[in-house]
């Protein structure tokens, strides 16, 4: 039997599989046994009540999807009074994703949700920073560091910082977040993209551009996971296009200590459990006793990076 447990900093998880924020909610618990997951991560919440973006909010593309959901949020009281009590009935660690338009806003929401029953905080810093022309916090090492430091001050809980792939040098942002006190990094959010209906000549999303996710982005985010894992000592959680056990294993070899599964669950509600079972079977076949032995176990020491072509 393979030991499927992994550590994400101080947090011990029964296995490396968890949902990606925004792709999981109570409805899934009606269809799969969520207690089998390593952790659950809820959709990003904000202090402000928000309605989210105009429809169409979604477009299907080959092997993936575009979304422009935005962050419809019912606010912190709703989380404390409704969402948190719901998850208390499950033993699985609860990770709360938070966001805010300002540094002070991030600190205050992180503080507000640092309550018993919450195992870790995931800061979705891919959102626009209203103090910096609306550029996402995660787009610059400096703003990523500022917001991470404020979050670090605000909460004693394990702090995961979720990065955006829409940057030139993600390793620099990863290092900045690590130095400012992040306990782990989630790599990554959706890839900025767009699609046009050629018959109507209209953008296929109501807000023109949106985030690309699903299998189509996997090679990009495997690369970023690899770059981040090489750049930092804290654990990296891989997230992007994972739909099979093989995908999850690939991410762990690239350096991920755990993985998040998003879009795949929309197509196969049981995707996370199938991935978990598949990984365990694969490890058993390969004689791997601890899944954690896969982390960063890529064989690349005899190779050199090709000179940058971009």
């Amino acid at each position: 039997m393979t030991d499927m447990s992994v550590s994400v900093g101080a947090l011990r998880l029964a296995n490396p599989i968890m949902p990606a924020s925004g792709t999981f909610a109570e409805g899934l618990a009606e269809v799969i046994d969520i207690e089998r997951l390593g952790a659950v991560v809820i959709k990003t919440i904000t202090t402000e009540l928000r309605a989210g973006n105009p429809v169409p909010r979604v477009a299907e593309v080959r092997s993936g999807m575009l979304n422009s959901i935005g962050i419809p949020s019912k606010g912190v009281p709703y989380f404390l009074e409704r969402t948190l009590p719901y998850y208390r009935r499950f033993a699985v660690p609860l990770v709360v994703s938070v966001s805010a338009p300002t540094v002070a806003g991030f600190a205050s929401i992180a503080k507000a949700v640092s309550v018993p029953g919450v195992a870790a905080i995931e800061a979705n810093i891919s959102c626009p920073n209203l103090e910096e022309d609306g550029r996402a916090f995660a787009m610059e090492p400096r703003s990523a560091a500022t917001v991470t430091a404020a979050l670090r001050e605000a909460t004693p809980l394990p702090l995961w910082v979720k990065l955006t792939p829409n940057v030139g040098d993600i390793a620099a942002v990863a290092r900045a977040a690590e130095n400012a006190g992040a306990d782990a990094l989630v790599v990554a959010n959706t890839v900025l993209a767009m699609a046009i209906d050629i018959d109507t000549r209209r953008p296929r999303l109501g807000s023109i551009m949106g985030g690309l996710s699903g299998p189509v982005i996997k090679p990009i985010v495997v690369r970023m996971t690899y770059q981040c894992a090489k750049a930092v000592k804290i654990p990296v959680i891989g997230c992007g296009g994972i739909a099979s056990a093989e995908d999850a294993i690939e991410y762990m070899l690239a350096g991920a200590a755990a993985v998040q599964v998003g879009t795949a669950t929309f197509v196969q509600p049981s995707a996370m459990l199938a991935i978990l079972d598949g990984m365990e079977a694969w490890c058993a076949r390969k004689g791997i006793h601890r899944v954690a032995d896969l982390i960063g176990a890529i064989r690349d020491t005899d190779l050199e990076l090709a000179p940058a072509q971009y």
Partner: protein
Amino acid sequence: MKPPPESSVVVPDSAQPADLLSRVISNDWVNARYKHLVVAAPPQAAQARPGQFFHLLCPDAGGEHPFFRRPMSCYGASPRQGTVEFLYKVAGTGTRSLASLVPGATLPMLGPLGHGFSLEPAWRTIVVVGRGVGLATLAPLAEAAAAAGIAVQAVFSARDRDSVMSVERFEASGARVTVVLDSDGSSDPAKVEALLRRLHVQGMADAFFTCGSTRLLVLLQRLGRELGVPGQVALEQQMACGLGMCFCCVRPFREDDEVVNRRVCWDGPVFDIQEAMP
């Protein structure tokens, strides 16, 4: 829609949803654009209630690669025969791939999903107004009403005679069907309104139900408000997960004096007719 109090619900919500493997029994054309799919499915699926839907995992076929599942109303469900039926319009990538399914093929389906129609025991006669594939959604309602001793006056709106489907199915359950057509002008809103007013005067409109046409929805909202007739509407919106997780399928609704977004998959697809916004 605020869920009606438990005691007044004749049609309760059904089994827990599950991701089930069904097997195609038949998948035949009913006219030039619509197919009727019958699958053998596990017992939970066959307990689907009127207005509920399944999220179908359409196969890769004929060069089509539908990424998401496709939502389809349950057109019929027989726990006794272990079957579930769908009536669908062959429209784009997903439905073209569905159309390719042959008897014996397997079809994964998630469901039953969503909140279906509810019927009040006090109702004597309901009016069911549908257009196009909206009929697929309304057919099980007509049957459930008949089973609960509620008479059904059905109004079918269609482009032309050839596009009319399902009349026999409704009539078999005892419904009285009136067909109105674009081709002869009988589907004109003013004429449909007159027809509905007649039914109301005759005491045959305790509630309105509709699916498949924004024009009909607007008409029924106005009449319902004026005549004090309650109603329900089944709505559509593009969906990803079907389980209320992704917030892709929201639509705006009137709630008191506010406009709020609700998820068609999770809060619906059946909503209070007055709260819906066309």
